[in-house]
């Protein structure tokens, strides 16, 4: 029981210690719960054209970014609503873009996650511009 007594002494000797300990325990517990609830490894988003209409059957490429290199892409396609889903993605930083014939190549957008396997929905849809023929 000595560790508990030591912690109790710490709290008694300075009330600010109890606040620090409480903050530490709360934030750690909160973080662990948040991670447990959001660790399905799903990355999801939408591909739209310039007018905001969904683009079906567009190829979406995700490339994991490590400290020194960018890994080969993982590819999926959008459904009829322009929605794409990547499953079991254990990455923390990645580049994403969309491609489709008849559209200009999309730009790479970089995202960073807080932990590996984080459930992540792209905050903004990927926009594809139609190729303009002269």
């Amino acid at each position: 029981m000595k560790p508990f007594r030591y912690i109790w002494d710490l709290i008694r000797s300075n009330p600010a210690n109890s606040i620090v300990l409480l903050l530490l325990i709360t934030s750690l517990t909160g973080w662990i719960v948040y991670v447990e609830l959001n660790t399905d490894g799903i990355i999801t988003g939408k591909v739209v054209d310039e007018t905001g209409k969904p683009v079906p059957e567009a190829r979406v490429l995700v490339r994991e970014k490590t400290l020194n290199l960018i890994k080969p892409p993982i590819v999926t396609e959008t459904n009829q609503d322009g929605v794409f889903v990547f499953k079991d993605m254990r990455i923390i930083e990645f580049l994403i873009n969309a491609q489709k014939e008849g559209y200009e190549a999309g730009e790479d957008i970089r995202y960073h996650l807080y932990f590996k396997g984080q459930h992540f929905s792209l905050p903004k849809p990927l926009v594809l511009k139609k190729v303009r023929t002269p």
Binding site: N14, I92, H112, Y114, K116
Partner: protein, 272 residues
Amino acid sequence: MNRKILFKLIDHTILILVSILITIPLYWVLKTSLTGENLFNYPPSLIPQDPHIFYFVDVYYWIPFVRFFFNSVFVSVIVVTANLFFNSMAAYALRYSFPGKKLIILFYLSMMMIPFQTTIIPAFLLTRYMGLLNSYLGLAFPLSSTIINIFVFKTAFDAIPGSLFDAAVIDGMKEHSILFRIYLPLAKPAIATNMILTFVWSWNNFIWPLIIISDKEMQTLPLGLSTFLSYFENTSGQLYAFVIMVIAPIILVFFMNQRRFISGIVSGAVKG
């Protein structure tokens, strides 16, 4: 205005200014760890722009931070425990009067003047001879007893009235019981000082782990920090995030024990 208040005001202004000066580098490290801003940016911005914690996430995932952290904590626990045990026993022995006591104290004091760098090679050979290279015990070995902390205990024990010792002896207590059940509970500030000082030394120890550790899994945080330098430029946010992660536990330990720590240091300063 009262003269006394004026002096107090000047005192506090100087103290606040010095505190700010001391805190600025730490603040800058924290700011860089949150923004990744280049240190040489001109004009420098005092307030962090777009702070985020992704550099900390990178450190957590790209190096075995948890392993390094565990190694540092484990070695520090061994060092702190060994110091409390050995130093308190040495200081307890020094409270007796015996022939050559002054010579031993003089010997201790002279040993304090020898820098660790000069004893590295014998310490390494001794550690290798004992088969402790690449081990936690080997990492803790040179710090398992420190002379300055023996004196911290000695001053604390000297302040305990001799009548307590006499009463314990009359009651038939053995030496180890007198030390662990009477002297140590009465020397809490000295224990706190020992714990904090040895924890800080062990936590920051760089040269010794660098010499005896060749296995990456056994590296401690300061050693990991130096390895980290080879991955990144010295201006990157990840490096500073790592620095914050290394020093945060030590700052926390200090702040939670600061009253005891300071009282321990002060008691050591005024008693002879």
